[in-house]
């Protein structure tokens, strides 16, 4: 008789697994482009809407001259994050394809529309995106190439995600040739897929590692900057060759002093440094509902002095996406906890009934609360006295870090800013990257400033 129980148990496990698969896992599995069944759904369901957190329609299906057309009221503004619906789809249009093409309208109305030979109405996707913040970021970036990510560090909600250059998602099919052949990679979502050297924004990580290895005496760090220094056979310059004079750790961050940082890094433990980067989710897949690149941190215990020096100021082989940099900043802003970034708040049927809901989820817990407090204090100085004064406001409390990341031997650089603004417990983290923007403080910080403003308006 025990044998009967063994087998019944085995099958209950199997059935439990199948139920779990259908109820949970299958939702992600079936959106794969190799699953051709979703094309069949298009014949019977009107694709649902994509809606912003402030209730604006970002994408909808309308009938024009008896033909269904996908309409994007904000045109280019949400091009990458919302995506296009032709040619294999992209962005949320791709990732939420199944939800948009599934009708959870009540059975009766489905049968009625079925009897009338009409299509059922697909479910609507409610995003975390806020049109006001998206607009602020989009306009602030103007005609420059780059990306802006704004998120809530406490929940992981993405408020805005802009990538430029952009395109008109409604015309993706018509302009397909041009979109793909363009040299400036129009279709690439720079916010999640673009990999850039982090430049001085990485000094936050180097400073943290230094603090961890000199727990009791990091305050005693002193270095006299003359504008340039030599590490081995490597010449390191501060931005614009400025001599910062004698600086401690706080001032080194505030002024973004390269020479101080490469000396600080000289005796750092490379493998501990690498494991901190790992904790900050470098080299791991960011679980977000979009195509995203892995940020890279390649230094390890066998790397040489040159690589260590380069890495400490975010030059070397380290590469990061604007989203990842926003997550690093979020960890600092959220007492050391990284929340899983997400874009879809809810999926609702046509009658407003909630079908699915995203719950905020902790991803990682790499920093202690006291480390965060110390870093916040240092990063506040960047805004009040240092390189990031363009992001200062008397209305709310900002802290952050600028960066100017050289990307070629001609010393052309990308402009970075990562920062957080707080007021009465409300927080927003913004990560800005401007390609070939030269100075983070001059070019990227004002863009973040505009997003902060829009948030606290």
């Amino acid at each position: 008789m025990q044998i009967t129980y063994i087998f019944v148990g085995l099958f209950l496990a199997l059935i439990g697994y199948i139920i779990h698969f259908v109820a949970v896992d299958s939702k992600d599995v079936i959106t794969d482009s190799h699953n051709l069944r979703l094309h069949e759904l298009e014949k019977t369901v009107v694709r649902g809407k994509i809606i912003s957190s402030d209730g604006q329609v970002l994408a909808q299906t309308v009938t024009e001259n008896g033909e269904e057309v996908r309409d994007y009221p904000y045109s280019r503004m949400f091009a990458h994050v919302v995506g296009y619906n032709d040619k294999g789809k992209s962005g949320l249009e791709s990732k939420c394809n199944f939800d948009l093409l599934t009708s959870n309208a009540n059975i009766l109305s489905q049968i009625t529309s079925n009897l009338k030979g009409e299509k059922s109405i697909g479910d609507n996707v409610y995003t975390t995106l806020d049109t006001r913040l998206q607009k602020a970021a989009y306009n602030a970036l103007q005609g420059q190439k780059g990306a802006v990510v704004a998120m809530d560090p406490k929940s992981g909600k993405i408020y805005a995600m802009v990538s430029k250059p952009d395109y008109r998602p409604g015309l993706a099919a018509e302009n397909w040739q041009e979109l793909n052949s363009s040299e400036s990679s129009l279709l690439l979502n720079r916010a999640t897929q673009g990999l850039y050297p982090p430049g001085s924004t990485f000094k936050v990580v180097t400073a943290l590692e230094y603090m961890r290895e000199h727990r009791n005496n990091y305050q005693d760090f002193k270095y006299t900057c003359t504008g340039s220094t030599k590490i081995g056979d490597l010449d390191i310059h501060c931005y614009g060759g400025t001599a910062h004079g004698t600086v401690d750790l706080e001032e080194a961050i505030e002024k973004s002093c390269n020479t101080a940082f490469v000396h600080m890094a000289e005796d750092l433990n490379k493998s501990k440094f690498a494991s901190l980067a790992e904790d900050l989710m470098f080299d791991s897949k960011v679980p977000i509902n979009l195509l995203a690149s892995k940020s890279r941190f390649s230094m390890n215990s066998s790397s040489g002095t040159n690589e260590l020096a380069h890495t400490s100021i975010g030059q070397g082989k380290t590469l990061i996406t604007p989203l990842q940099n926003a997550m690093v900043m979020s960890a600092i802003a959220n007492d050391g906890v990284i929340m899983q970034p997400y874009l879809v708040e809810q999926v609702k049927n046509i009658n407003g009934g909630v079908i699915k809901e995203t719950k905020a989820k902790e991803l990682d817990d790499p920093l202690t609360k006291s480390e965060c407090q110390t870093l916040k204090k240092m990063l506040r100085k960047v805004i009040t006295n240092g390189t990031g004064t363009k992001a200062y406001s008397s209305q709310y409390h900002v802290y952050g870090k600028t960066g100017s990341a050289e990307y070629n031997s001609a010393k052309d650089s990308h402009a970075w800013f990562i920062g957080c603004a707080e007021k009465n417990g409300r927080k927003i983290v913004v990560s800005v990257l401007v390609e070939d923007g030269d100075s983070g403080g001059r070019v990227a910080a004002p863009i973040a400033d505009k997003v902060f403003h829009a948030f606290f308006e």
Binding site: T4, F7, V8, F11, N114
Partner: protein
């Protein structure tokens, strides 16, 4: 219009399947024979309504007269089987007949949807083999020395299994097919029957530990041959059958645990040694990274099951042709896609109810040989279902096993029909043994109480008559 009919039919089909499945389990409860007969009659109705709905949809989608004619042929065939078999074998299990018809019926519907030619071929094989295998219960009754041929089974089975090394052909990456003239079949499908007979015969006679060692070594050789043939599903199946029979024969949990430990160790070693095992495991772990290569089968299967969802897309509304090996190994995915996962789970429950029936007969049998035979076949039947459905849903690595009676495949269907008829034979034997036992007991009781035994006997005869009617 056809859309609406398909959708409505989809729900009706599901309801029929649900009530049928439910009745499989309520069946065991009533002791009242008449109530039980009503339930069995109802089951037949559910089954025919189910078949009618499916075939109606299939016909309306194609307006192909062939489908109607084929449906009529199925009805006639099932009716004959369900009326004639209980007429000839008065004590047969009607539940087992109903279940086999229901499973065959699902198979026919799905095959008709996939390919009419395949369905027809399957039907011909089923009809012919039902006719021939129906003689088995009679043989079980007339021949009494089944349990005395242990060593003969051992040798015959082994030779047949190893024959693929001499006259084998490769198919689907495994070296387990034999073709003689126009016939191609998998010896392991038949050998598993001989294997169960061999294990039951020898284990029921084993007296010392030495005997058990001998039998276990032979069983291990069978498994080894299958591993060398790269038939991993087969190897696992034989292993589990033997382990369960050994446990049932000895009632020593130590053997069960030791066997499981040895089996796990063997699996780990196999994974280290054989590249084809490594590939299967890698595909199981992450099929999506190999979606355009070896992972395609499992991915497409998961797409089908996931897109079908709870209620399915409706008969004829899915894309079963995207699924590889759809008519045999992956038939569960095809069923789930169009009939829905709830239907798929019902199907699993119907298959489990067959197993419970097997185990029930095993408990009722008095001879150890018969007990073990029933148990062995029960495990053989159900574990195969587990391997098949577990594989296509990515619960376990896929091993390319069919669902008995539902999947297309001559060898598989013939061997399952043989098993079902052996079980029918054992069921009848158990029944008559039980009655014999009751009669003797009643007589003894009557004698003890010093009463006239005749009225008791009559009462006994009456119940027997009731059972027969």
């Amino acid at each position: 219009m056809i859309q609406i009919i398909t959708v409505i039919a989809k729900y009706l089909i599901l309801i029929m399947c649900l009530v049928y499945t439910f009745s499989c389990y309520t069946m065991f409860r009533p002791k009242n024979k008449e109530r039980q007969r009503d339930l069995l009659d109802n089951q037949v109705i559910y089954m025919f309504v189910f078949l009618f709905l499916c075939n109606a949809v299939l016909f309306l989608r194609s307006f192909d007269l062939k489908i109607l004619i084929f449906f009529a042929a199925q009805v006639v065939f099932f009716e004959i089987l369900m009326i004639l078999f209980p007429k000839i074998y008065k004590r047969c299990s009607r539940l087992l007949i109903n279940n086999s018809c229901f499973l065959l019926g699902i198979g026919f519907v799905v095959l008709t949807r996939l390919s009419f030619e395949l369905a027809l071929k399957q039907f011909a094989i089923v009809a012919a083999s039902v006719f021939i295998t129906s003689l088995i219960p009679l043989m079980m009754h007339k021949i009494t020395f089944w349990d005395k041929l242990g060593w003969l089974y051992a040798v015959a089975g082994f030779v047949l299994l190893a024959s693929v090394f001499v006259i084998g052909v490769q198919k689907n990456g495994s070296y387990n097919w034999v073709s003689i003239g126009p016939l191609a079949f998998q010896p392991s499908e038949f050998v598993k029957i001989i294997f169960v007979f061999f294990s039951a015969a020898l284990l029921s006679k084993a007296k010392e530990f030495k005997d058990l060692v001998k039998i276990t070594v032979i069983a291990a050789l069978y498994v080894l041959v299958l591993v060398v043939e790269k038939d991993l599903g087969g190897a696992l199946l034989y292993f589990v059958i033997y382990l369960m029979m050994l446990y049932a024969a000895t009632a020593k949990p130590l053997y069960l645990l030791g066997g499981l430990a040895a089996g796990s160790l063997a699996a780990v070693i196999a994974n280290l040694l054989f590249s084809h095992v490594q590939v299967r495991v890698a595909v199981w772990r992450d099929p999506f990274s190999m979606i355009e290569g070896r992972g395609a089968q499992v991915c497409q299967s998961l797409f089908a099951i996931g897109t079908g969802g709870w209620f399915g897309l409706g008969l004829g509304m899915g894309r079963p042709f995207d699924i590889p090996v759809r008519e045999s190994d992956f038939i569960f995915s095809v069923i789930s896609e169009e009939f829905g996962v709830i239907f798929g789970i019902c199907l699993i429950f119907v298959l489990i109810s067959c197993f419970i029936l097997f185990m029930d007969i095993s408990t009722r049998s008095r001879k150890l040989f018969n007990k073990l035979l029933c148990l062995g076949f029960g495990v053989c039947f159900l574990f195969q279902v587990f391997l098949s459905i577990g594989g296509v849903t990515k619960f376990i690595p896929s091993t390319g096993v069919t669902i008995p009676l539902v999947s297309y495949g001559g060898t598989s269907v013939v061997s399952t029909l043989i098993i079902f008829n052996v079980i029918q034979g054992l069921h009848m034997l158990a029944d008559s043994e039980e009655e014999e036992h009751e009669r003797i007991k009643a007589e003894e009781e009557a004698r003890e109480q010093g009463r006239n035994p005749i009225p008791e006997k009559r009462r006994g005869a009456k119940t027997q008559k009731e059972k027969e009617s």
